[in-house]
Symmetry: D2
């Protein structure tokens, strides 16, 4: 179980290209990288194509002003001159720019962490792979869902033969947020995704299904796709030739078959990713909308629901645990929310800002006092024979 | 929507008493406080009753060695002498010590954030409340579940009359982890909880139900308990007089009735906290095991499932959002897990530790390349009329 | 497994008092009694306080006109004169009349099946019990939910020690159909239920919770309530003194505790009955809204979902099975619906009523033909290498 | 709402071919046909290939001995001679025999109800269709799941434009009961299904997917499949060439796409049939394992759960309702189970069989008395101020 203690001798000096105020993904990178301040420290950035906006943003998240740069070229050059220059860079820009930035970063002697889909062609990917080997650098890809521990539980159980031979791989990553064409032209996070020049040869296949496909590989490292068939549509016509819906059938080298449904026009669907692995004896099923739970269905026996953080899980799954049993994922967000309000309360108090304090909703001393009162009254009732007492 | 940009002018200098390596709660405090490094910075600590262990731990989470202290008295005294001394302290020690540490912290001029249940008696709570007012300091209480945004949605909808008049408040915080007496004497995080001298006058009423009771107050600020009846049991006899199960019936000042079931012997229960508020027109129901979802049930209409981060939610609920629609809570843990592995990969690469690299499972360049290949093959199949293609 | 073959030598000659066209409960009696035509045959009835309406109704459900009676007294007297007179009578009238009709039936030498709550007082119940013994007749009570097989599974598992010692009994029968006072005065099935003269001393306690209480006794035959506390309210004021909401806490003779929440003002609640039995090792939970499933939660192990009709169930549970594995309950309703349409199609065809045939939606020869076509096309595609084929 | 009152002037005289003691399907036919004894009456049968066994069975379900026949030819011939001869016959025999029996029945002047898949070829189906027209007879097909009312709700909502234009049809009928080859050779209900001579050109495509395909047609009467692609496998090799798993992609004439996954090797799957219809504005989803519920998901709004029997449903859906709101499907099975035990109790009492009475678990007079006692005690406690009372 993880508790924030360092896993490496000191935090790595880290920067980002992209990931500024106008999109959502940068915050996920920082939340991940800076979880414990023992893996990375954020020391520089070229967060935005608009330098002023990016610099303002960078200052607001605590980066020193003189290490905020107008573009990645400048950042790589300037940081290379510093003794305490960056060692690792994350790339969270539109797809069309991944290749050139990756290449530049490796050539600048940096380790790279890049958004998916990595590039447009396997040739580009192969080129970068070789460059990374030559430079002796790591290239990581942010398949951000792949860190859910129960995926490692699936991997372990399948490796241990708990479902028998794999027969059917049932994959899905669908949502309905693009059922209408709203935002296709106006929303900055969306418009480049349906422009082949910026997004590359696909929309949902690259944007969504690469995640789930990677997760299936993570779970099934022993299986390779041998052939496949893909049927894609652009239900919102203006998106053509980029698809907003696709179905794929796959044949694996071990005789298994698979399907992938990926879509951004699955109206109303909020359970985005489903992974079901059918074996000759049992199946495993996991949904990213309920990441705490894994279904294990042995044919002819009661279905089992495995829950994150429980002692019966595989050690590789447990090793990535941070919250502990009974604490649903999301609890860390809840704690962050209340601690932010604590900070705002302290700040307001220090500034004598009573107006803010009056409106801030958080568990304050009165809430604590009420909790004590609650216990006191309960105990008084119980100890007198479970009788009614006035709440005092 | 939150994105990590600062809400106050600079991070507060923060320390902890308790919360070291032997328990789980300290990590939750740090995860919450340090989420964005814009609200707090952790600069000192007295993390453990065993000074050596606490100091080793503190170094491992990045606190400077000379600001790690053997006890809170020393910490408060030493830090008071520094210009950059701590401003806020969190207390995550056994219940019996909360009062004296809180008092000392306030007297040392510190803001305080304290674990629940705050103290043993309302007299103590009242004393601390007055002391905090005199010292002009904030006292916060870590009802850690209360930051889930959908609780604010419930509050807003009830305030707006969406369920009519509140009639029944149905509360539950139960689990089964103490169904047997295992750990009661050996487990360091458990043994003091069943010792009246350290835990105070209750076990589950204080340890569990105070959370849910606070959340009910957060949701229903206009309602007060007028009288109550509590029936408690010690099903594991050695815990007497402290209860491991209790039922409470409440009468509110507006004529509503409520119930609370709190238990740590509810064998197998993994859905710990349920909050159902029944109104004259509709009900709202939320479970902490599925914090993304809120049920809104209007009598005579189809039940509605509201999902975190959606635009139809109240602005106060949306203001605390960090992940965005379609991203289930827990995703930040997933990102943290993969970023930790990126750091470990970089570190291993730098050290030339190929052995570690061989065993580390994370989305590397090959995973990125496979994703590109996946899209390429899918597009080739689709663009040739949805035909079978060999996976190349 | 049951398949309709007779369990007794010939069907019993059966009649009903009440249960006519204006309420819903009579149909449930007939559906149950006549499921296979091997247990009962319906030969007489006094279905309605309005004789004409009751006689019309009786003819419509296939009872001979001369065995339809204006009241129970006449029916008992007339039938007693026949050689093929009734042997058993079911009583489905408002509560206030149960006692006198039961008494008259037993005195007329009939076995009796009566709606719940049986009577108003235990004295009445004791009197009838003794009368039945004297007359050597059976008196059954239609706790209609108690025939769900998974209740027998719970009984068997608890008896076999699968959950350890029972500690907490958590019962609920709530709905929200009386959240408003609509229907209290106008709806014939509702208005007598809130009138103490007709309903007796309670509304939801008698109307709802007696079901769940009986089911708890069925599951836990070894446990008796020793003392209890009940708190009841009339949230719709005009119902006072009859309650529309109540909470009960129970102490059992073996040290277990129990709670019952019964309500008809739980707005929007469609999952009416919950039964959770918490033992020292595990818990069992069943909801009447999902009668196919039983949760078995062993502390520290993955939760199991047991499903109706599976071979791993106890023999007493399996003995009552009628549908078989994979066939969810409700399937018999579906078959009844399509068979009724087959009959209506045949009848229309015989009458030359093409208009009716045109509008009747049911699986006809074209539907059958399309199914054959579907298989043909699928097989043709598959056998040619999973290629696209025009649907012919 | 249906209540058993006749929909046609008198019950039709009905017989079965097949459907005897050795399989499960016959009981479903009888349960459906005889639900109210106002649509059909069962007067004859050739239930079994083993005449003695079939005759014994027929007597046990109440058919007169002289109308039980060794084979369908004899039955059709003999019944044709009677004035009260059969009018309708149901065919529940292995697939290979459907065609000849259908043909014979129509030629004997009978209406026909036949199991699916109807025949082996569309030519056969076309022939029978024309024969039925010539003979002016009805041919119905027992797609037994298609009577679930919420399917009519889906049909109505789609017709009313509630989901916009249909884009994706997502169909599934899978289970895992044939994950192993157990029973393929020994189980009488299974062995013919994997024998091409008896089953025809397919196993699961015909046995399972024709159901779901019909239901999709019922829901989407305006859409036709234009082309399709099917990929099938025999994961249990001995079943080849008959498939135990298949995936189909469909293109509809209106531009929609569809998929069907059908399988009997989906190990552990108990949620057999899923139907999801994705429109341009919203989606509808229904599972046969939860036939009471329909999900209606409008993009950007809270998902709605529609529940069977509620007043907000379409009139065509409500017209087929039998149980009423709050009464989950399966309740009629429960009533049937308790009424059967009432009959067995009466029978035992009449025979003086006290041994049977001692072991029969059913709601008897004591259960009724206990219910009265329960209410009495609750009321006494409540009316004294919600105080503890001894259970008397």
């Amino acid at each position: 179980m993880l508790n924030g203690e360092r896993k490496i001798s000191r935090p790595l000096r880290w920067a980002m290209v992209g990931g500024g105020r106008t999109g959502q993904v940068g915050y996920k990178h920082r939340t991940g990288a800076l979880r414990d301040n023992t893996a990375f420290e954020l020391v520089a950035g070229a967060f935005d194509i608009d330098f002023e906006r990016g610099r303002d943003f960078g200052v607001n998240i605590g980066v020193l002003k003189d290490r905020l740069y107008p573009d990645y070229e400048t950042m790589f050059a300037e940081e290379a001159r510093r003794e305490d220059g960056i060692e690792v860079v994350s790339i969270a820009t539109p797809n069309a720019t991944h290749f050139e930035i990756c290449k530049a970063a490796l050539e600048a002697g940096l380790h790279v962490i890049c958004e998916k889909p990595l590039f447009f062609t396997t040739e580009e990917a192969q080129f970068v792979k070789e460059l990374a080997e030559e430079k002796e650098k790591i290239v990581g890809v942010t398949y951000g869902f792949s860190g859910h521990q129960l995926l490692l539980q699936m991997r372990a159980m399948i490796e241990q033969g708990k479902i028998g031979d794999v027969r059917v791989v049932d994959l899905q990553y669908t949502h309905g947020f693009n059922a209408a064409d709203e935002g296709d032209k106006s929303n900055s996070a969306q418009k480049w995704r349906v422009d082949p020049k910026v997004a590359g040869p696909s929309f949902v296949l690259g944007d969504l299904s690469t995640h789930t496909y990677y997760m299936s590989q993570l779970i099934l490292p022993h299986m390779k796709v041998k052939k496949l068939l893909c049927d894609r549509q652009s239900f919102v016509g203006s998106r053509a030739p980029l698809e907003d819906n696709a179905h794929v059938i796959m044949h694996y080298d071990n005789g298994a078959v698979g399907t992938m449904w990926t879509s951004s026009i699955n109206a109303g669907c909020m359970d985005a990713q489903r992974i079901r692995i059918v074996g000759s004896k049992a199946s495993l099923e996991w949904w990213d909308s309920k990441p705490n739970e894994l279904r294990y269905e042995i044919q002819g026996e009661p279905a089992q629901t495995l829950v994150r953080a429980m002692p019966y899980l595989d050690e590789n799954c447990q090793a990535d645990e941070r919250l502990g049993a009974l604490h649903a994922e999301g609890l860390s967000e809840s704690w962050a929310n209340i601690y932010l309000k604590f900070a705002m309360a302290v700040d307001a108090k220090e500034r004598g800002d009573e107006e803010t304090l009056r409106h801030l909703v958080y568990p304050d001393i009165d809430a604590g006092l009420e909790g004590v009162r609650w216990v006191e009254n309960c105990v008084r009732s119980a100890d007198n024979g479970a009788v009614w007492v006035d709440f005092e």
